[in-house]
Symmetry: C2
Subunit: 492 residues, 2 copies
């Protein structure tokens, strides 16, 4: 018995070794790899990924898991590991190798067309390849199967508890409240010019490293590097890496990117290392991962208590640019709300309109009620209707995100769910620790981190998002808490 579970663990770890090796090659590609080796590197990564996939769906591996379930004498954690992994394998197995290959080819084509369309600022260049990809995603939805809506099958690729029914309700609860807040607090000539003075790149990187360290990222288990788009990746709970992008004319981007990615990293660092390669050593879901990054970026990192301590530190790093800036002025600039074109630059309120528009379009594309060629038109209409802004071109409109081009349909909603969970966790942290903001205002972030470790990180994938939320907050997903959090923040 014991040796059968050991066999399961060993095979699971070998699979993880390959997947994490692929992640190292990806990280290197985005940070240090010389430009001319992109092609061979992609092939090397594909070999690692395909081999990991083959091992995952190997009947012998499944057989070990089936046997373990029959033998009924596993510990609770062991049983969880086997059950969760088996479920993943059974889902993966539904796709034939031919389908996987077709998807990979179609994605590669769509991605290159997206790049070209962006360069030429013309969605129509990308539309035919995207249509082909959407058709394949519809096929994928049928392969996975669904109860209500074909889009549910794709949503659940990223978030088990998500569905059209659930998300329609979430957005219906959320958007009217957000519109109200937007109307009430949107930009009234707030001064932000000091955020756009010249901030030296090397100094900004130092500042990023300082922030990461302050948040509790262990220097012997993490790195901060530069890449074109910020990201977090991990190769075990002892090696978690974040990246940032530095714009010398902007203080904000590097600062909140680093705090955001730092939040992701703290989650990975808090996963139990003894469960390496197993479900309990892996994050719950994308929305919970995003809840961690947004918790740090917004609930902590855009909080006056945080900057009460850290604005003087920022002034120490950038005396010329910031020494004259009062905390109140700084916080107003940080929490400025204003409808804008680009999702990744949006504030905490308008952000969810960006997500909602993408969600709507994806849902209708998969249902077949709109056509790929109309995306640009629909996109622009919705931005006008919901955010009141004119989209001048496709580059700042429907070509801005990479997601569709790499086949990630159903992914965007996890960003909004992440914000909602973050607000609920923040609310619970505050009620568990009434003095938390005063602690934070002393630059003490440890209680916050320990609370997250204790309540969220340690469980890995033991619970799904909804179960975890219930366990932590004693409540299910609840957008009113997010709205209340925003109202509290902006009324200050």
């Amino acid at each position: 018995m014991d040796s059968l579970y050991t066999e399961f663990v060993e095979q699971s770890r070998k699979i993880a070794d390959l997947q994490y090796a692929a992640a190292v090659l990806e990280w290197d590609k985005e940070t240090y790899m010389p430009a001319k080796s992109a092609e061979i590197r992609s092939q090397q990564i594909a070999t690692l990924s395909e081999t990991a996939h083959t091992w995952l769906i190997d009947p012998a591996y499944e057989n070990v898991m089936q046997q373990l379930l029959e033998q009924k004498d596993l510990s609770e954690n062991e049983l969880d590991n086997v059950k969760i992994r088996l479920k993943e394998v059974l889902r993966l197995k539904k796709k034939t190798p031919a389908f996987v290959r077709k998807m990979s080819e179609t994605v590669s084509k769509a991605y290159h067309k997206w790049i070209e369309a962006r360069r030429k600022n013309d969605f129509s260049i990308y539309a035919p390849a995207l249509e082909e990809l959407i058709n394949l995603k519809k096929e994928e939805a049928e392969i996975y199967g669904y109860e209500e809506h074909p889009y549910d099958a794709l949503l659940q690729e990223y978030e088990e508890s998500a569905s059209v029914e659930m998300l329609d309700k979430v957005f219906a609860d959320l958007l009217p409240g957000l519109s109200e807040i937007l109307e009430k607090y949107k930009n009234k000539n707030i001064d932000t010019h000091f955020l756009h003075k010249k901030y030296d790149a090397a100094k900004q990187l130092e500042w990023g490293k300082y922030l990461a360290e302050q948040m509790g990222l262990d220097k012997d288990k993490t790195r901060l590097d530069i890449s074109e788009h910020p990201f977090t990746t991990n190769f075990s709970a002892t090696d978690v890496r974040i990246t940032t992008r530095i714009d010398e004319n902007d203080f904000s981007n590097n600062t909140w990117s680093t705090i955001h990615e730092g939040g992701h990293a703290l989650y990975e660092l808090g996963l139990p290392i003894e469960e390496y390669g197993l479900p309990l050593g892996t994050f719950t879901s994308l929305s919970i991962h995003e809840s961690q990054s947004r918790f740090w970026e917004n609930c902590v990192g855009k909080n006056g208590a945080f900057w009460y301590h850290y604005l003087p530190e920022a002034q120490r790093f950038f005396p010329e640019q910031l020494s004259e800036i009062k905390l109140e002025v700084f916080m107003q600039a940080v929490n400025r709300i204003e409808p804008s074109l680009i999702r990744t630059e949006a504030d905490e309120v308008t952000y969810h309109f960006h997500i909602y528009i993408r969600y709507l379009i994806e849902k209708e594309l998969i249902a077949g009620t709109i056509s790929t060629k109309d995306i640009s038109k629909i996109w622009n209409e919705k931005y006008k209707e919901l955010l009141g802004i004119d989209v001048p071109d496709d580059k700042s409109g429907c070509l801005q995100d990479i997601h569709w081009s790499i086949g990630s349909l159903g992914y965007f909603p996890t960003y909004s769910l992440g914000s909602l969970y973050a607000a609920q966790f923040w609310d619970k942290l505050k009620s568990d620790n009434p003095n938390i903001e005063s602690e934070i205002s002393n630059g003490n972030l440890n209680t916050t981190l320990q609370w997250l470790r204790q309540n969220i990180h340690q469980y890995g994938k033991k619970y799904d998002s909804e179960q975890l939320c219930k366990k932590v907050t004693d409540s299910t997903l609840d957008s009113t808490i997010f709205l209340k959090y925003l109202e509290d923040k902006f009324s200050k």
Copy 2:
């Protein structure tokens, strides 16, 4: 037919993808990896290496090769690829998985004991684990088989044409001549103090990058990073990386390390990319690889013609330290000969005594004519006898090299062979291009690089070292050319 060769190529490339992925993980480990993830990283690398090994000895792979040989309609290059790979596979197959595992465990133990013994400066701590490893290497020699001497089997792991008979002759020819040169030209109060002024680390790194670029390393296919010990690694002919170590009180280390590793890198960059993952896309042998690094480090990089152009450049980088230094004084310091304790710091002449002592000890250990516990004593006696110096402790004596601790017995001689081949190639380059030194003295290194590309790099593993040497120089390995090269250099 064609499709069977394609199958061979695809499987060979998948194996290479895993091996190169392992190399990326190794590179990262030595350069950027956070300290606390060493253990899991080693496990990830082991999974990749073991999988590549399993694929290499897969009977289906061998079967494809056997079939291809029977079908007799391959092109010359195709046939070479299949024949060479099959020979490698048949050799690998001789070791059982149990033996491979035993070796890996024994090496791991010996390596850790070596680290401890070095720290405590006491060979006796390491001796028992090394003895166990030597016994296993003897077993390995039996597994591989040999005609004359069991050590031949180990030598041939690194260099197919090497044997005790061959090396005894090489050293017998070489050492008396070296002794003569040493006696004649050894240090007569040469001024080297300017090489040990303070050289800023960041500036040294810039200087290293400048040198690499001057040698012809394409910036879009290479990198120069910092690591504890300099090395070269490659993940394809489009991604070759070198590292250097920087000591702020030393100009030499970084300079000639970078030129040395740059020579290795140019070789890898010159291998035919269309043969990726196949023998013809891989280097000939360790000695030929080393011939390339030593060619650049010594024949070019310690040549007065080279510094005629590059000393002014070095003075531009380091005006304070070097601007007063005349070329003649600089060249005397660079080519100073003096017996010393540490192999990696030895000059071109005394270096080969270091190698000879290691070769002698290895040969006798494998033959069983000396015992592991006596290594320290024999080492110190030989250093006294051959170099006339007293070894003060094990750390600067028999504990200085990593090689034995990782099971690399038979490796050292390739370093000496590399020097010999380098001198022969240099000699031929000069006779093919009588003006080459004048070109080099103008900072034009391109003829040199193109000559190496044309005569050596392009062939990959098509020829073995001896065949290649014969093809390039019309002569076999010949230590008199090396001795003549030294005599020429030092008589100037």
